[in-house]
Every structure is written in C-alpha cells, then in structure tokens.
C-alpha cells in the first residue's frame, strides 16, 4: 500500500513538472539524434557511463553545476582530471567536431534526460561565446 502511495506521489510529481517550452523540446529532440550519433558509444544509452573510464551524465553533479566547462569540453575536447559525483576521472574526450547549434542541442538533451531536468535552454550563441579553456 505504502509503495503504491509513493508511486502515485511520484507520478503526480512528474505531472507537476514544468514542461519544456516548444523551442526547448525541439532542441532536445535534435539533441537526442546528436547523442545517438556522437556520444552513446562512450556515455552509453542511459547516460550511465563506464566506471573508471567514461563519467556518467545521469546523475552528474558536474553536468548540473559546470555548464561552461561542459560546453567548452564539447567544443574543444576535455582532458585531465575532473571530479564527477566524488569520483576522479582523468580521461580524454576528443572534440567531436560538432557545430555550435548541435552542441547546444545535445546539452539541452542530456540536461533533460534520464531523470535530469534543467529547463533553462542553452542557445547556439552561448556556445559561440564559449572560448577555449586555459590549460
């Protein structure tokens, strides 16, 4: 009974979530395609990643809090130590050669998938303004 209750509570919570705007939803949909194309082989189908090799995207405190670093990493590649959910990764994510709008779309997708939610939309112009991180 209790379980049922929690279930319905969960359901109503889902129902109460703010729906993405049509523009954001369209970007998320395009981002899903980018993800299937360019990210899935490392971060896997549910964004779960691979222990000690590819950090998870869901959940990921890094993705939640370090938007600029995520965009820069996708634009220019990401190397060296980063900490995700308390785990240290020291890998190499090569730049995928994506265009600015594709990066915006895929970030919107991963920030709104597998339980992640961030309705603030990233735009291609945000990506265009992101410069290369200093080494």
């Amino acid at each position: 009974m209790k379980k049922l209750f929690v279930f319905f509570l969960g359901l109503s919570l889902v129902a109460c979530q703010e729906q993405p705007s049509p523009e954001l939803q369209a970007s998320i949909n395009r981002g899903q395609e980018v993800y299937q194309n360019f990210c899935i082989q490392c971060h896997l189908a549910e964004g779960q990643g691979v222990p000690n090799a590819f950090p998870p995207l869901a959940p990921s405190d890094f993705l939640e809090t370090q938007t600029a670093a995520v965009i820069a990493g996708l634009k220019y590649g990401m190397q060296g130590e980063i900490v995700v959910n308390g785990q240290t990764y020291n890998g190499n994510m090569p730049a995928q050669g994506l265009e600015d709008d594709e990066i915006a779309d895929v970030v919107n997708y991963i920030r709104n998938s597998w339980g992640n939610q961030n309705r603030q939309m990233i735009l291609a112009s945000d990506v265009a303004q992101t410069s290369k991180p200093k080494p």
Binding site: N37, L44, A45, Q79, N92, Q96, G97
Partner: protein, 375 residues
C-alpha cells in the same frame, strides 16, 4: 504467487537469452607478464595510424589532423597535410608507406574529408603524397573520395595495406547508414577497396564492368573496419571490424564476397533491441572469428617474428573498450586461445610489427609503446 514466480523465471530467462553469452575461448589474463613496455613516442592525443620508415623512425597520424615524424623520442609535425574534417569518429586516420618507399618516398593517408563540393558533411578519402626531408608533403594527390557526404560521425574506417603484388587495399565503414550502404555495390561505405598504387582500378577487380558498380570495391557488407593486415605467409588480406553491441568480426577478405552486414550479425543494437534474427545466410560469409561481447577492435598485426617465444603466426588486436592488446593464438586456422597483453593500459588504437620484429602499440592519450620480451 506461484504464477508470479514463473513470470519472474520467464523474464529472467528471456533477459538471459537476450544477453548473448561470451564467445569462446574466454579471454585469459596471465598472472605475470612475460614482457615489458617501453614508451617510444609520447602523445596526449590519439595516434591513429603509424608506420615505420626505418628501424627507428615512425610516421604517426594524430586524429585531430597532424602527421608526425617521430625519431629518438622526439616528434615533429609534417606540413602540407590535406585538410581534415574532424567529426565524431572521423579525422586523420591511417598512414602507410609505399612498398617502394625507400626509393620513392611515397606515403598514403586515409582521412575524413569534406571533399571538393559544397555538400554538407564529409566522407573518407585516400591520398598519396611524397615525403620530403621528413618534414613536408609534396605531390599531394587525391586517389579516392567516397561519396556522398554525410554529417554522421560514425564509421569512416579505415586502414591501408598492400598485397604481395603491390595492390593497395583500404576500408570504409558504413558511415552510420547501415540500411543503405553496405549491401549496395553502387554506393560507397561498408566496403573494402582495391586500387593500383596510382589510384587506377585493377582490371581484375570483381565488379569491373558491372553496371553502376563502384569498380574499386573488392568486398562488401562490412560495418566499420579499423584493422587490416596482410598475412605474412599467405599474402591474404585480413580485416577486423567493429560490430554493434557484440559481433565484432575477423574476416579473411576474398574477392567479391559479401560479409553480411547488416543482414547477418552476431550483434544487437546498442539499445539492446535486435538488428536481425539471422547469423548465417547463403551467399554471405561467416566470420573467421567473432567477439561477443564487443572489444571494440582497432589495429591489427600478425606476428612473423622470432622476438617472442611462440607468437609467430598469431594475431594481435587492440581493444578500445577493454583497454588491452588482445593476443589470439591461431592453430589449424582457428582461434584456440585469447589473452590480454598490457591489461588496463588504456584505449589501444593500433598495433604494428616494426621492422625489428617487435610489436608496437599505440594507446590513446599516452603514445606508442614497444613490447619487449623479458626472456
């Protein structure tokens, strides 16, 4: 309750059946390594292709577009490399020397290219060039440009090898368009190609004169070949290719044959759904060996060296996914054992036998290592 339990069992069973079992023979990890690794080139990027131009000098491609001349622990960029379209798995791919390199200084490169048109995206290209002073390319010539362009990031191939008669072979993956490219010989992608060294098409290629065919095609039905080797004793061309989830394959390449992708495969989609129910079909080749689960193979060497005890004739394949070099022991035309060399070293992108008979492996983010036997 009973009923629930049996549903549970059924569910469990189907999950079990859906997750294909590991193919035999199982991979072994030796308890003590019989060799040491010596770093010969340091690089934090992805050294995708490598080839020796002498016992101590290496040409290596970095995926991002740089061709390096490496010697005595140093590396220097070579200028005038064709423009590279770095996208997804694409970039500057393989490098190979001409069989007469010592006298003509000719090298070949495969790379992802936007081509010459204005169509968005890119496809795999094969270039020929002359290496001058180990520092620049001259007489750069495009030998093959696959079409059409695609913005997909996947499956560009590509390795380059030669047969004993001097024909050039290279591969191109299905470019993320598996239902259209690999089974259609009038289209590029999902093919192994065979050319003369000047880029012309050998008249004994299997589809020469066939209406609409890409006459450079030598075999088809491939997914994404990233390892290719000429067998040191038989002279045959051997290729391995990435499968989807499960179903990476090793194939002996024969003229005009169909290797089955995506009609037959031992793999499933990344999402877990089936691609096809068939693993065998008339008119399609069975792999020499297949990996389940996938190891994500890249780089292929067949040892013919006496530098290591008992390795002669065995196959060596890099594993990107499990981060080791795989040693496949071959007896009577079969894989009889598999073992990990350099476990956990990192994503092994390439393996080559040097002119000194030693095996060299390239590891993403690290560089190139020489495998030195302890005994």
């Amino acid at each position: 309750m009973r009923y629930l339990a049996s549903i549970g069992t059924l569910l469990g069973l189907s999950v079990f059946m859906a997750c294909a079992q590991e193919n035999v023979p199982p991979i072994q990890t030796p308890s003590t390594a019989a060799y040491t690794l010596e770093k010969v080139v340091d690089d934090s990027g992805i050294l995708w292709g490598m080839t020796f131009i002498s016992k101590t000098e290496i040409l290596a491609t970095e995926k991002g577009g740089t061709l390096y001349y490496c010697s005595a622990g140093t590396k220097q960029a070579i200028s005038n490399v064709p423009e590279v379209y770095v996208r997804g798995q694409g970039g500057l791919l393989d490098v190979a020397t001409d069989p007469d390199f010592e006298t003509n200084s000719i090298i070949y490169l495969t790379l992802s290219s936007k081509g010459r048109g204005s169509e968005p995206g890119g496809n795999t290209a094969l270039y020929k060039a002359r290496l001058v002073d180990n520092s620049r390319l001259e007489d750069v010539e495009l030998l093959y440009q696959a079409s059409p362009n695609s913005k997909k990031g996947q499956h560009w191939g590509s390795r380059i090898v030669f047969d004993p008669q001097g024909h050039l072979y290279f591969g191109i993956g299905d470019r993320g368009n598996r239902d259209v490219n690999p089974q259609d010989i009038s289209r590029d992608g999902g093919k192994i190609y065979r050319l003369n060294r000047d880029g012309s098409i050998p008249q004994d290629n299997p589809f020469v004169g066939q209406n609409g065919a890409k006459e450079a095609v030598f075999s088809y039905g491939h997914r994404n070949p990233q390892g290719m080797a000429t067998h040191p004793t038989t002279g045959e061309i051997w290729v391995h290719e990435h499968g989807p989830r499960g179903g990476d394959e090793i194939n002996r390449i024969q003229k005009g044959k169909n290797y089955g992708w995506p009609v037959i495969t031992y793999g499933i989609n990344y999402s877990g759904t089936p691609i096809t129910t068939q693993t065998k079909k008339e008119g399609m080749e069975q792999p020499f060996y297949y990996w389940v689960p996938s190891i994500a193979p890249s780089g292929f060497a067949i040892s013919d060296s006496d530098k290591y005890p008992n390795w002669r004739g065995d196959y060596f394949v890099g594993s990107l996914k499990f981060e080791y070099l795989e040693h496949l022991t071959i007896e009577n035309q079969q894989v009889v054992a598999r073992e990990k060399i350099a476990p956990n070293i990192g994503r092994v992108r390439n393996v080559q036998q040097g002119p000194d008979g030693y095996l060299y492996l390239s590891v993403e983010g690290k560089g190139i290592f020489k495998i030195v036997s302890k005994s």
